[in-house]
């Protein structure tokens, strides 16, 4: 393409501001797609992980299999996971999302179980003594006390997903990863730098935002360091 011609003639700088101002719409679209892909993955991941985490917490029988299965999903490299799905689901957003959701599960389930396990027995006993039934105890005592650990899991899952979304550029999605991929294919540094910087910035903003959200939701946990 045009950029390659320029590269051949002149040294390609790390940033070409003219490219950025000329492609503001492309950059914005990539950023929005990145946020969408991440949000869907984390929300769907959480919707699956909460019941899985509750089962793993309550039942010794299912704990092993749940951790093994989510562990295997987490261990398989993202590119391989996408390659497994591609022959069946094609170059679609579904392929990307199944892979991304698969990655969040281990992190989320593990933190849910760790959080619930950390609820002191005395607290639980007190709740029972106050006449809480099992469901009320779960909803109003166990889960609220596990929130800091659960949100810590959501933070890690979100930051990890934001990084992994870039890989989906290879299967036709990618968000900001499509800019990074573009930089590789055309040997042109500006989109690479823009994609990387925005991706890191997005991860930092999401992480800080979630940390802030946790402080607001769980005011009692502010002075404690770990749950």
């Amino acid at each position: 393409m045009l950029a390659t011609g320029i590269v051949g003639a002149v040294e390609d700088p790390w940033i070409r501001w003219s490219w950025i101002s000329g492609h503001a719409d492309v950059i914005t679209a990539a950023l929005i797609q990145h946020i969408q892909l991440t949000l869907i993955a984390v929300v769907v991941g959480l919707a699956i992980a909460v019941p899985l985490g509750l089962v793993a917490w309550r039942s010794r029988l299912f704990r092993g299999p749940i951790f093994s299965l989510t562990g295997i999903l987490y261990t398989i490299p993202s590119l391989a996971l996408f390659a497994f799905l591609l022959p069946f689901t094609g170059l679609t957003i579904l392929t990307a999302e199944i892979g991304l959701v698969g990655y969040t599960l281990l992190i989320l389930v593990r933190n849910i179980v760790v959080g619930l396990n950390a609820v002191p027995d005395e607290v639980r006993e007190a709740a029972r003594g106050m006449g809480f039934r099992p469901v009320a105890e779960l909803a109003r005592v166990d889960i609220p006390l596990a929130i800091p650990a659960i949100i810590a899991g959501v933070r890690i899952a979100t930051v990890t997903t934001i990084g992994l979304v870039t890989v989906t550029a290879l299967i036709g999605e990618g968000g900001l990863g499509s800019l990074i991929y573009d930089g590789l294919l055309r040997d042109f540094k500006t989109p690479l730098v823009v994609g990387t910087v925005l991706s890191v910035a997005l991860a930092v903003v999401a992480d800080l935002g979630l940390a802030g959200a946790q402080r607001v939701i769980t005011p009692w946990a502010r002075t404690r360091v770990t749950p």
């Binding site: 590119l79 391989a80 022959p87 933190n111 890690i156 990084g163 550029a169 299967i171 590789l184 991706s199």
Partner: protein, 241 residues
């Protein structure tokens, strides 16, 4: 023929196993590249993490380095390395080393910090010198978490080495990347099988090494607890941060 049948056919073709582009050579490349990267990273990262943990200064740095590492996409690190060092094996190696360092620094730091102050005190009370306290007390106790960091890094590195096929390097990722390019789905799928298998083998064997690295004296009392901890080492760090 069914799709899975085509994949099986692909594996049965002897031509796919031989030569420089065959499964055996690609696996060898992948393992060699990953192993060298993890080793190099360990030589750099472990002394740093252990020193920070031992002297107790710079802990915030040790914890945050892996949070930052997580935020930088490995794909971007790889492409940046290409811009700096050209294509081929060198940028892949440098990118993989850079990615392997943060989890090792963080975990070895946490491992050293988790050594009970009383235990350290007792060792000094027994007349051990600083070097002996470090080598014979702190390091053995920290070893399982240090191993957990190496394991996290190794699994990351094997995964990212797959992406390195994009920057004109070999490894098992070639089958996936070429399968994508040629729309050869049986080859793509076969490549995914190979990469997944290698990753799982690395994960499970290092998990075994990690278990074995727990000092005998700590094994019986804390075995179940330790295992939980090692798996969540990074998460614990993130909760604390």
């Amino acid at each position: 023929m069914s799709f899975i049948g085509q994949v099986v056919q692909w594996f049965l073709d002897p031509a796919h196993w031989q030569g420089d582009a065959g499964i055996l050579h690609r696996t060898y490349e992948h393992v060699l590249m990953s192993g060298l990267s993890v080793l190099t990273a360990a030589v750099i990262a472990l002394p740093v993490g252990i020193a920070i943990g031992h002297f107790g200064r710079g802990g915030i740095l040790a914890i945050n380095v892996s949070n930052i590492g997580r935020a930088v996409p490995s794909f971007a690190v790889l492409v940046i390395a290409v811009q700096l060092f050209g294509i081929g094996a060198l940028p892949a190696f440098i990118a993989l080393v850079a990615l392997a360092i943060p989890p090792m620094v963080t975990n070895s730091y946490i491992g050293m910090r988790e050594v009970d102050a009383d235990v350290r005190e007792a060792a000094r009370g027994m007349g051990m010198r600083e070097r002996a306290v470090l080598l014979r007390v702190e390091l053995p106790i920290a070893l399982p978490l240090i191993m957990a960091g190496i394991r996290t890094s190794a699994v990351n590195v094997v995964a990212t080495a797959t992406l390195a096929a994009l920057v004109a390097w070999g490894g098992l990722g070639r089958f996936i990347v070429d399968g994508l390019g040629l729309q050869d789905y049986p080859m793509l799928f076969a490549g995914a099988v190979l990469v997944a298998l290698l990753s799982l083998i690395v994960e499970f064997s290092l998990a075994g090494v990690q278990r074995l690295s727990t000092p005998a004296g700590l094994r019986s009392a804390k075995s179940s607890q330790k295992e939980d901890l090692s798996g969540t080492a990074l998460d614990t760090a993130a909760v604390a941060a």
